[in-house]
């Protein structure tokens, strides 16, 4: 009976795991196939001789490198921006007393869990007024703050013993020095959590970039990929499309492979918002 149950349990787990990973396997397999092999029955899971032709097509027939660079710049600056603004705000909320503190914090929390689409129209009007439409800055500046990151950092800062700072204060350090010299070095675990969360959020963003830029040279990878699929929709080159998709996922998957535990912890810990 116990054996039977264990067998049932294991086959269920492995069965579902197989279904979960199948789309990724199929994507990579297709990306390595030649045009005739892609449409051949019965299905060939492992290409007879893996070809990188599709990757070449994806990169050369489209400004893929350009999109990649845009994505790296945009995501990188969003990470820096969010970390900068959030560290400062989180420190104030964790450590200082000031008028309106609680009210302001609750107000900030209202930024969680609201569909972006509810504010898209005024947002575009504002970005237009600020001359940020169709600029890389437009893809970055509006996203350099985060309720979630302020919240996570604040929770961490509150647990740091006050004595450490008091000693530094007596030595004449100002607030900025306390943050950079004392708080940040001991906050590495939470900063890496924040880094991972912002990285995945920034890299995968599609909705806002779609609204903010429509010039091809400003496209991020996600926009580029969606565009790549659209222009190919009549007679899709699935091999090249799968190669492009694989490349688009690669950075996130690489981070995941190297620090799976940390990534899962970070996302679970943050309670839902990507």
């Amino acid at each position: 009976m116990k054996k039977l149950r264990s067998l049932f349990k294991h086959s269920m787990l492995y069965g579902i795991a197989l279904v979960m990973i199948l789309p990724f396997v199929w994507m990579i397999s297709t990306s390595l196939k030649g045009p005739t092999e892609i449409f051949s029955l019965p299905i060939q899971w492992i290409p007879s001789s893996p070809k990188f032709e599709n990757y070449k097509t994806a990169i050369t027939s489209f400004p893929f490198i350009r999109f990649m660079i845009n994505s790296i710049v945009v995501t990188g600056l969003i990470i820096i921006g969010q970390l900068f603004t959030s560290v400062l705000a989180a420190y104030a909320f964790a450590r200082m007393e000031f008028k309106g503190k609680n009210g302001l914090f609750v107000l900030l929390l209202s930024g969680l869990m609201l569909p972006a689409q509810t504010i898209m129209i005024p947002m575009i009007l504002i970005l237009n007024k600020l001359n940020l439409i169709n600029t890389l800055a437009g893809l970055i500046i509006p996203f350099t703050w985060s309720t979630l990151i302020v919240f996570l950092l604040r929770q961490f800062f509150m647990k740091i013993p006050r004595e450490i700072e008091e000693a530094a204060m007596i030595d004449g350090c100002n607030t900025f020095q306390i943050i950079t010299k004392i708080i940040l070095p001991i906050s590495k675990p939470i900063l890496s959590t924040a880094f991972i969360l912002i990285f995945i959020y920034g890299w995968n963003q599609y909705f806002w970039p779609l609204l903010i830029v429509n010039k091809e040279e400003l496209y991020t990878l996600q926009l580029g990929l969606a565009y790549f699929k659209e222009v190919n929709s009549i007679e899709t080159n699935w091999g090249a499309l799968m190669a492009g998709t694989t490349l688009t996922m690669l950075p996130v998957i690489t981070v995941f492979l190297f620090c799976q535990k940390k990534v899962i912890e970070s996302i679970a810990f943050s309670g839902g918002k990507e």
Partner: protein, 287 residues
């Protein structure tokens, strides 16, 4: 002294300036737009009172989008929650390849919705070469059009949604399971409770707050994450069967240029989100 009093405000200033310009102000502005008729370019906006809201009731496309959104959430959330609940219960550290399995289940959650949409369009290919058709054909199922079939398109999206969210929900449930005191299970064992009984009488009740949290957050999440997938796979078709509130709102705003009406739709979405959140808060306060 004066300088010190200002310090906290200076520290929170960058966040709050951005928060105000790119969140608070747009939210209020959006509300004021629901009372006007405006194409987004003209200098003058026409005040129309509540007529944008009244128009919603007679707009078949809106009702269709609302229906699709609710159907999608009602199918995706319970399916995903129940599968991930079972998975979290049976996936313990004694299982061979525990870490790898956890990683595989979680993988779909971290990749972009655009990439997911592209890959699944390929899996759903509506002919004999489509992967899903091949696999189901193995069991004697005939070829289906999936995303192109009016009767199957929404279901096809539900499958993607479930696939994408199982891993995340599972991880949250695992965290909840760990928090259940071992002594409860031991006590139950003395009383003779076994397997399924343990699950029904101890695990489920103890996990209720977590289940509720996951249900609520994935419902809200499903309201807007569906945008990217629909945009990449069906763009609302066939014959409007996968049109969602968020995609319809996008079309009214940026294809028809009816900013007032689009804002009214946006506020319905806003109201739905707020309502779900209030229900969640009430529940958490009670338990």
């Amino acid at each position: 002294m004066n300088k010190n009093r200002l310090t906290p405000y200076l520290l929170i200033a960058p966040t709050f300036v951005l928060f105000t310009i790119f969140f608070l102000f747009p939210l209020l502005y959006s509300f004021s737009l629901t009372f006007v008729e405006w194409n987004g370019f003209a200098i003058d906006k026409t005040f129309v009172g509540f007529s944008n809201y009244m128009r919603l009731f007679g707009d078949e496309d809106f009702i269709n989008a609302l229906k699709n959104t609710v159907t999608y959430a009602l199918l995706t959330v319970p399916l995903s929650v129940s599968i991930s609940l079972v998975l979290s219960y049976i996936l313990d550290e004694k299982v061979k390849g525990f870490q790898a399995l956890k990683g595989i289940f979680f993988l779909p959650h971290i990749v972009s919705l655009v990439a997911v949409g592209v890959v699944w369009s390929w899996i759903y290919l509506p002919d004999k070469y489509g992967l899903l058709n091949v696999i189901l054909g193995f069991f004697g199922v005939e070829i289906h059009q999936w995303l192109h079939d009016p009767d199957l398109a929404l279901i096809s999206l539900v499958i993607i949604g479930v696939w994408k969210s199982i891993g995340y929900n599972m991880v949250i449930f695992i965290a909840g399971l760990v928090a259940i005191p071992k002594s409860l299970y031991e006590a139950a064992e003395i009383d003779g409770a076994q397997g399924l009984q343990r699950f029904v009488y101890i695990t489920l009740p103890m996990l209720k707050p977590t289940i509720f949290f996951v249900m609520v957050s994935s419902t809200i999440y499903s309201l807007f994450q569906i945008f990217d997938i629909v945009k990449v796979t069906t763009d609302g078709g066939p014959i409007g069967r996968t049109e969602m509130l968020v995609t319809y709102l996008y079309k009214v705003g940026f294809t028809n240029y009816e900013m007032g009406y689009a804002s009214a739709i946006a506020f319905v979405l806003f109201a739905i989100t707020v309502m779900i959140t209030i229900v969640q808060k009430k529940f958490i306060e009670e338990s």
